[in-house]
Every structure is written in C-alpha cells, then in structure tokens.
Symmetry: C2
Subunit: 491 residues, 2 copies
C-alpha cells in the first residue's frame, strides 16, 4: 500500500526529528554552556516549528484518507491507531490556541519559579488563571462535548478516564491514610547518616544501572540538577545527582530512571523510529520505573545485596546489619514534598493534585481558592498544616507549564506496578534468591519480554493485563504495601 | 519591507536548525553511545532533509523576487548577498544529482577508510572515479559555462579562483622548497620527549584556551578522536586529544581550534543566527586558527611563557631553557602526513593536492593516474619517495566525501595569516612583551575588532585587506617564515 509506505517514511523522519529535539533537551541539562541559553531557546523553537508543521502537514490527512487499516497486519493497524489519534488531536486544536498556550506557559514557568522562591502565591495566580483558562479551551476543543479533564488525561494515558481514576483512588486513599498513621505511630527505623563521596556514589550507581539491565552501549549516565531519562531506541540516556549526606537520593533515582530507560531500550527493534517505538503511556512508563525502584530495588532481598555493596564502597556507615539497612531504605517520614515521599505516602500526594486539578479543569474550583483547598486537603490526609507555599501548592512545576492530567499517571503507574509485581512473583521461580545475590536478570527479563518489548502495540491497560493476567486495579499494590510496611514497622 | 522581514525570520530558523544539526555532529564525536550510530544516521538524514527543503523552499524565491536590495542598509545588503548566492546555488544543482552525490560519497568514505587500512589504492579508485564524475557534473551545473574547479572553490572561498591561487602558490613553492632544504640540512633542535599525563595536559590546555580568549561561558572543551571546533554564536565547542608522549599535539591543536572558535564567538551579536553570523570563508577561518597557533602560539616570546607553564605543570622534562624549547616547538622534520607537518612544509602538502584536484576536476588527470602523479610530485618537493598509500594519496578523507576546492583554503589561510600578522605587529605596541608574559588579550582583541566581529559582512579578501591594510598576497608569510626559520636553524 503506497500511501501507508509514504506515511510511515514521513513518520519515521518525524520520529527521528523528535529524537533530535529530545537530545537537545538532554544537552541543555547536562552539557550546554551556561551562556548558550538564549540561543538554545531559538534552536528549540525552530525544531518545534518543524515538528508542528509535520504534525499538521496536509499530506498526512491525504495519506490517512487513502489507507484502509483493515487491510494491514496487526502491527500496521496499531501504527495507524497512533497516527490517526495524533493527527486528529493536532487538527482539533486551533494553531493560534496552541501558540498562545506555548507563549503563556513559557511565561508562567518563569513566574512560578520566582513565586516559589519568594513564597508568594498571589504573584503566581494571575498567570496560572490564564494557563487554566487556555488549557480548558484546549480541553474543550479536544473533548468533542465530552469531559474536558478526560481529554487531557488521554494525552498521557490513552483510554483512561477521570471517573475510573477517581474510583481507583477513592478505594486507595483511606487504606493509605490508615497505613500512614499506623506506621508513623510505630518506632521509626534508623535514618542513614554519614558522608558518602560523590565519585563513589557515581561508581556504585553505574554498577546498579547495569545490574538492573541498563545497556551502556546504547546509553550513558551523566549528572544533572534533576534525574531524568531521555530518548528512545538505541540512544537512551539517563541522569542522576549526588548528595554526599544522602546516598539513597542518587542510587534510587538511578534505579528509577533505569526503569524508564530499559523500557525504551527494550522495545522491539522492528518499531524503531515509529509510533510504536516509545513507551505507550506515562502510567505504563511509571510502572516500570516504580517496580524497578520499589518492588525490586527496595525489597528485603535486594537491599540485603545492596547493603554489602554499600559497605564495600563506603566502608562502615553505622548501620548494623542488612535488616536495619532494609528498614532504613524504607523509612517513612513526615514531609511536604511529593518527590521526596516514600512508598506509603507518595500516592496521597498525587491524589491531592488529581482532585484539585480535576476540579480546576471542570470549573469546580477557582484558581484563587487553590491554596486554601490544597492546605485543607493536605492537613486532612497528613495531619499537619502546610508551613509555606513552596512546601504546598507551589512545589511542582507541572501546572505552570500546562501539565493537567499528568499527575494521576504517577499513581496509576504504582497501581500497574502492583499488578505486574504480583504476576512477576508467580512467574519467576526463585525471585527472592536472585534478588538477594543481585541478579536482576530474570525479573527484568520477564518485564522486558512480557511488557517492554511491545512498545505502543497495545493500549496501556491492555499491555498491563496481558503481562499480569489481571485487569489493572489497586488491590495488589495495597496488599503489597500493607504487608511490606507491617513487616518493617512490626505492626 | 515585509518580504525582507519574512525572509530573515525564515532564515533565522534555518540557521538555528543548522546549529542543531552541527551540535548533533559534535555529540556524535564526543558523547554518543557507540551503539547509537545507526539510529544517529537516520536522525542526521532527517535533519538534512529538513535543511534541504528549506534551502529550496519556493517561498524563498518569491521573497527574493520581492526584495529591492538597494533599499536596504549595508548589513541588509550583505545578508541578501549571502542568501541570493546560496539560493542560486541550491537552484542550480538538480535534486537527483545532489541525492546521488550524498549517496555515493557516503559509500566512498567507507571504502576509502577500508582501502587506507588495507593499503589498497585500487580498491578505492572505482568509487573515487564516480565521485569525481559526479562532482564535475555538479561543478558544470554551478559554473554556468565557466571553470568547473572555480565553481567548487567558490563554495569554500567566495570570489577566489584557481588562477589566482595558482599564481600565489607558484610564487610560494620554490621559496618553500628551498627553505625546507636549507632547514633540513642544518642541525636539528632537540625533540621533546618524556611522559606527560593526559589529565595535566587537559588542565594546561584549558588554561591555554582561555589565555587565547576562548569563552567557556559560551563553549566547552571535550576529548575526541580528531580536534575540531563546532557551532556559532553563543555555543561554540571545541575538542582536543592527548598523546602522553607528545604534549604539543594536545596544546597546539587546542590553540588552533580556539582560533576557529574565537572567530565564531566574536562575531557581532547583531548577526546571531543570520547568514552573517558565521565565519565568512574557510580561508579566513583558517587564518584565525593559524595565526593563533603559529604566528602567536609558536613565537619565541609566547613559547618562553609556555615553557614556564610546562615546567610548572609537568616538572623538568629535559629541555634546558626557553630558547631550546622554542626551537623544539618549531622543529622541522621529514614526514608524509599533511596534518603532522610543520609551518615550513605544510603548504607544500596543500599545493600538491591543489594541483592534482584541479587537474582531476578540469579533466586533465585520470583518477587511475592519481597515485603516480601524487608520488612523483611528492618526491619532487620533499626529496624522498612515498612508502605506502596511507602515507600518500589515501591519507586524507576529503576527496572521498566530495571535498574538491577545499584544500587550497588551508594555504590561503596561511597567506591571510601572514598579512594579518604583519599588520598586527604594527598595530599592537609591545606585542612581544605581552606574548612573553602570556598576555594574548591585545593581539586577540585586535583580531576580534578588526576581523572577527564582521562575520560575513565583507567578502573574504576584503575583510583581510580592511584589517591588514594590504591586498592579500604571499610575501608577508614567506618573509615571516624565512626570517623565523633562519633564526631557529641559524641559517
């Protein structure tokens, strides 16, 4: 089919250009000379214009009209599903609205950073109001009369709805609040302390990355202010950071990013530079980073091995044995910041944002009431008051840059990880023994073969269900968390 | 003028995209994971397609037709000169010929590398014959009935001709051959020897880079297999390499690349991401790298300062004093390889290539007679025979990738550097005292203000003449070389 071949050739170049733009982003965070920022923003803008023009290229519409999807094989049909969806999305949003969103969010991000530094919510709300209004207009354009917030979620988690997420989170929240309270009333494990040289952390973190299956022949590790994974296929790079007082920051952010990176590296080579050649959704992506980091990386078995590695690397660091080390790695502590939260509390942070942004998008919450709503909800779930805006509603960049519908995918990823881990334990005999000797190959191999390899071939919930054997739901995650922390805190 | 503004906005994005493509090339040589090479070639090809489509975009022709250059200020007129020229060039070469050249040179580069490794000229000549035939067709398309080789030179050195270069080189060659013979009959200076740790070379090389004015706020230094400078404006990066037995390789390649990089960094900010925002020609570019490296960097005054820096960095390395060090830095030695040649012999290597490629392009030399012609000419100028093809006609990558007309710009750069240095000595009082204390600011500042800042504003020979006060010619270079090496070799 000539139209299909032409479309796929066009698509392949578009994906290649998107990889280039992504690598430019990586360069900006790792290598770029500081004085190049202004020129770089012109370069990025030029790349964005090229990508936007390709997404709305009239030839794509002509090819799409000429292609009979039913005549294609299942892979071809999956490619078409992605391409048709992306094209429909691009056509629905008027160019002037897209340009206005880009302009206002660029301004809003700067104002958010300043407002956070100044602890001044009022300085941020006027521009946030503009962002919310523009995103609601975009959502209305996308929703075809349906739910505005659903349309936004669909950008990050296809086929998922706010109602489904709301039901899932509603079941989780009381049990997580109860677990949190029980844990914080029990005796706390010892926190790690001491001095851990950055260069030794980087050596150990590189070893952990390859232990978890990260392929340095198709990737590299650098330092950056924020850890991230970037790129698809044969060039997937990760970053980490070091704090000499807290080695877990570096080591576990690396394992987390390795989960993301392995997903991208392990997608079937046949999908390279096609719409199937990237992770299928934010939720599934997060399931991989989370299962690597938590269910595997923070398990009793694996931390037993890591304890030995830490002692080899840093010498004695004041934690008596592997069991205390396991408890220390999984220590639950009070705090305001989502990105610093432990497994027990993390989803409570996310659900708070989900409910607030859902209300903002659906017109049930005014931007000027956001801070009060945030602070009330935080105190209800965490039992203490937000002390300052940078610990409250100004802590995350997401809303300033127009990311609405993104937050819930963090918790959905945890839910997916719970389902996958349940299946993994059944499917890999001797898993705990393998983890205890630092052998991650069977576990990550199972994830590769049952989930990662498929890339965008199936819808998100479908690929999780195919791998885990159950329709995704929160029960496996909740049971895992309750059992794990009952053990650690001797509840 | 709306058409001019539209054209310049379009051009600005094109320049920004060209910067992105260039940075991708930098990444490939410095950072890219080895396993990413195949994906990278798809990414580069996609960028090239975008750039090619912009160069031949029909809107450009419409804007050009609508613009009255005479109504513009001198800067606008210079911008139009570049844009009209590039557009005319893009229109003259048929798309299928351009694609064929890209395809064949890509293949030829691989075959050249293999043939060089195998010392097998015959394996390379069939594909070189194809390259030569295609480049001659391109030259004919560009030349409008004029000289094919002139049309090619014009790509690298606008307004220069083979006849002019031939006359210049004809005047230089006998004096350089005579100087070479006299020098090699005299007593040779001591060669540097010892062990120079790579990390200390990198420290010293970074210090040298900033000493020569390289701005690390808008650049960075990394290691690569081949030293190069990459990028324009606010993001100009250089690479170097280290050999622990030969510190001059690292230090002088850095000074050379800093010359190129400072030219790009020092162009007037008003020209950023416009056709005036890059070096005006290969010859002028090379004049900057060469004057930094040789006339300044290998001067008696500066090497006196460098001798102290070397001792501070590496301790005693067996050279007794600054005078011996100066002689050692400028040691003339026999050899086959252009890139390893000293100031005396370098231009003889270039002239050999100029005469041969001119004959190839003009149809006066058959590809299958190339090796014999090379070897005859080499023996005539250097007095000994080529021992193997990798030391002879297979040593350079240029012809395999279709670079004809590029070689002479290396020597033209030296000629320009000779003119500029003559003027610099007159214009900067106390120059030798400054160099002797490692103060390069007055010299590089003069080059910045009199030449580099102009970018593409003037034609190459014009900008050199404006700075040096004389029409470019070889006499200043020859006098400089004869005096310098008479002193070093006590002729």
């Amino acid at each position: 089919m000539a139209a299909y071949d032409d479309l796929m050739a066009f698509q392949r170049d578009t994906m290649a250009l998107a990889q280039v733009a992504g690598r430019l982003g990586w360069d900006q965070e790792t290598m770029m000379p500081r004085g190049a920022a202004d020129q770089r923003s012109d370069e990025m803008a030029a790349m964005e214009k090229v990508l936007h023009a390709r997404r709305t290229d009239p030839r794509v519409g002509e090819w799409l009209a000429a292609i009979d999807d039913a005549a294609l094989d299942p892979v071809g049909q999956a490619q078409m599903r992605h391409i048709r969806k992306a094209h429909a999305r691009a056509m629905k949003v008027p160019a002037d609205l897209a340009a206005e969103i880009a302009k206002v969010t660029s301004k809003a991000q700067g104002q958010w950073a300043q407002a956070r530094a100044d602890e001044d919510v009022a300085a941020f709300l006027p521009v946030l109001e503009q962002v919310v209004a523009l995103k609601r207009r975009e959502g209305q354009a996308l929703a075809d009369g349906g739910d505005v917030y659903d349309a936004m979620i669909d950008d990050y988690e296809p086929e998922m709805t706010a109602a489904e997420l709301g039901a899932m989170f509603g079941a989780m929240r009381p049990r997580l609040v109860a677990l949190r309270e029980a844990v914080l009333e029990a005796e706390a494990p010892q926190a790690i302390s001491g001095h851990f040289p950055a260069d030794k952390q980087m050596e150990l973190t590189a070893k952990l990355a390859t232990t978890f299956g990260y392929d340095l022949h198709h990737g590299r590790i650098d330092k950056a202010v924020h850890p991230f994974s970037s790129g698809s296929g044969h060039d997937v790079r990760i970053t980490t950071r070091t704090s000499e007082l807290d080695p877990f920051n570096c080591l576990y952010s690396t394992i987390h990013e390795v989960g993301h990176a392995c997903y991208e590296q392990n997608i079937d080579d046949a999908y390279l530079l096609t719409p199937l050649g990237g992770g299928v959704s934010m939720g599934v992506h997060e399931s991989q980073s989370r299962i690597y980091e938590n269910q595997l990386g923070r398990s009793a078995a694996f931390t037993g091995w890591l304890y030995g590695q830490m002692k080899d690397t840093f010498g004695d660091f004041g934690i008596a044995d592997a069991d205390e080390f396991y408890r220390s790695v999984n220590r639950v502590h009070e705090g305001y910041i989502r990105t610093e939260a432990d497994e027990v509390q993390y989803n409570l942070h996310v659900m708070l944002r989900f409910d607030l942004e859902r209300a903002l998008m659906q017109g049930d919450l005014d931007v000027f009431d956001l801070e009060a709503a945030w602070n009330d909800r935080f105190e209800a779930d965490f039992g203490y008051a937000v002390d300052k805006p940078s610990n409250g509603c100004l802590q995350d960049v997401h809303w300033s840059v127009g990311l609405f519908g993104y937050f819930p995918t963090y918790s959905l990823g945890n839910v997916y990880a719970g389902c996958l881990y349940q299946a993994l334990r059944g499917a890999v005999p001797g898993l705990q023994d393998q983890l205890a000797r630092g052998d991650l190959a069977p576990a990550t191999g199972w994830l590769r073969d049952n989930l990662q390899t498929h890339g965008g071939l199936y819808e998100p919930a479908e690929v999780v269900e195919r791998a885990s054997g159950v329709a995704p739901g929160p029960e496996p995650l909740l049971e895992y968390l309750e059992a794990k922390f009952a053990g650690i805190y001797r509840l």
